[in-house]
């Protein structure tokens, strides 16, 4: 379903994302005496995902997890290596990014559907399902900028889950929402396991162990561990020297 072969993603590190015009010209005229440093967000990454897998991706902040999701979403083309994706990918909602905040939740659902290539009819069909799942009530017609982070996460999750795509990308949103919503999210995740292919990035080790049938641990852009979730989580926690909290269904504390 997804084949990643020696993937590398490189970024140029500039102090200012966009240099001022003058320094831009100066750098040019000095003929790259200060060549910008580059860093590899991902390097030599290889793994395979079969249809129906739920892959848990763990690692410290900045280890390349979100970058990987973006590669799979098609946002970053590989600088090295190859990525083959045999299916359609959902939108990546990282903690609510990707919403047009001036528009209402409803409009964002619509826009998202168009962006991932759904037909208008299909979007209409899914609209009610998504609205109901997100439980935003009247807020669905308010601009997203009025939403709390939890509400955005719920909407993002609702859209990602119901967008008809073979591959679902979930970034850090399992921890959002109140207990009632988490139970719903849990149920939804359990429902689609096996049916669809899920890439789940989370800091919540319980969620990873519960849903994933494969886990990959990223450390500074390379794979530090891969395989059975319980094992990989243990490796990761050992390396981070964090004592694993006792498994407690009620305690989905946000890391």
């Amino acid at each position: 379903m997804i084949e990643v072969d020696d993937l590398g993603i490189r970024f140029k590190m500039e102090k200012r994302r966009r240099s001022g015009a003058l320094s831009f010209l100066l750098e040019r005229s000095q003929n790259r005496q200060r060549s910008p440093r580059e860093f590899w967000a991902l390097r030599h990454v290889s793994f395979t995902v079969e249809r129906g897998d739920t892959v848990g991706v763990i690692g410290r902040n900045g280890s390349g997890k979100s970058t990987l999701l973006r590669v799979i979403a098609g946002v970053y083309p590989p600088d090295e290596g190859k990525v083959s994706i045999g299916g359609e990918v959902s939108t990546l909602f990282s903690l609510g990014a990707g919403f047009q905040t001036e528009l209402s939740g409803r409009d964002n659902i619509y826009l998202n559907g168009i962006m991932v290539g759904l037909t208008k009819d299909r979007i209409e069909e899914l609209l009610d399902v998504i609205i109901e799942f997100a439980e935003l009530g009247d807020f669905i017609d308010m601009p997203v900028r009025t939403y709390s982070s939890g509400m955005r996460a719920r909407l993002g999750f609702a859209i990602a889950m119901h967008s008809d795509k073979d591959i679902v990308l979930i970034d850090e949103i399992m921890g959002a929402g109140d207990v009632a919503f988490r139970q719903k999210a849990e149920a939804e995740m359990s429902r689609i396991i096996g049916e669809r292919t899920v890439i789940l990035v989370s800091h919540n080790m319980s969620a990873i162990e519960q849903f994933a049938n494969k886990a990959i641990w990223f450390d500074k852009g390379v794979i530090a561990g891969m395989g059975e979730p319980k094992k990989v989580v243990e490796q990761y926690l050992a390396a981070s020297k964090v004592k694993k909290p006792p498994p407690d269904k009620e305690d989905w504390a946000v890391a």
Partner: protein, 259 residues
């Protein structure tokens, strides 16, 4: 490059919705909403009428309608350019969440600019009657002129979108450059009045907008065919279009990382 064009055609529905949602978002907070699309050019025109007709005492009887014709076309170009400069950087969240042809971002700015032109045109039509413009078959040249303008605008905006992503100064530079070009172009003044006769030919060759704007005035108000100097506009538009399209296609994948 042909790929790009095909791509855009395939995702035309996306372009449509981007435009629609962008326009919706922009007028959401404004009390007057879309009325501003009419008011903006109207108020601008009134400002210049006061300045030129009353304060300077120039312009002639048809000044308002000549001014307005040039103004709405000029505004279409400059507003498109301004929007394009920030088109990519303003949509970081969206670009990093889902894959889509980025060219849609500056393009939607141009299309919104065109709708503003249409609103302006809706006001222009009654003005043409009021100021007794000559209505001849030459009016049929209008779509051709619009086509020339849109081709050139697309090229310029694609280049602006790329540069604007790397250089935040570009919006300041563009503001300034537009202002200068505005005064150097026959919008609030007439070519015959201000340019010495022996220099007119040179001027018209050097300023691509001059030929185009004179042509708009020719076909809508004076009832004559477009200015020969519009050819300069045609040639330049085509070149800029090809260059812009090539440049944007080449750099598109770098843009996602630059934001």
């Amino acid at each position: 490059m042909i790929e790009q064009l095909k791509n855009i055609w395939e995702r035309r529905e996306l372009l449509y919705y981007m435009v629609r949602f962008q326009m919706k978002a922009e007028k959401k907070n404004k009390v007057l909403g879309f009325v501003w699309s009419f008011l903006d050019p109207l108020l601008l025109m009134l400002t210049y009428i006061v300045l030129v007709s009353y304060i300077f005492g120039r312009g002639g009887p048809q000044f308002p309608v000549l001014l307005f014709t040039a103004l709405i076309s000029w505004r279409w170009f400059t507003n498109s350019l301004r929007r394009s400069v920030n088109s990519v950087t303003s949509k970081v969240g969206l670009i990093q969440s889902v894959r889509f042809p980025l060219v849609i971002l500056p393009l939607s700015g141009i299309i919104i600019g065109f709708f503003d032109w249409l609103f302006g045109f809706a006001i222009l039509v009654p003005m043409l009657f009021i100021f007794k413009a000559s209505f001849t078959v030459n009016v049929l040249w209008l779509p051709v002129l619009l086509l020339i303008q849109i081709i050139g605008t697309i090229g310029a905006c694609l280049i602006a979108a790329v540069w604007g992503t790397y250089l935040s100064d570009l919006s300041n530079i563009i503001q300034f450059a537009i202002r200068i070009c505005f005064y150097l172009t026959p919008i609030i003044w007439a070519v015959e009045e201000r340019i010495p006769e022996r220099l007119i030919h040179l001027y018209m060759l050097l300023n691509p907008f001059a030929g185009l704007l004179e042509s708009y005035k020719n076909v809508l108000i004076r009832g004559v065919p477009p200015s020969e100097y519009a050819i300069v506009g045609v040639a330049l538009s085509c070149v800029v279009f090809v260059v812009g399209l090539w440049y944007f296609s080449r750099d598109e994948h770098k843009l996602v990382k630059a934001i």
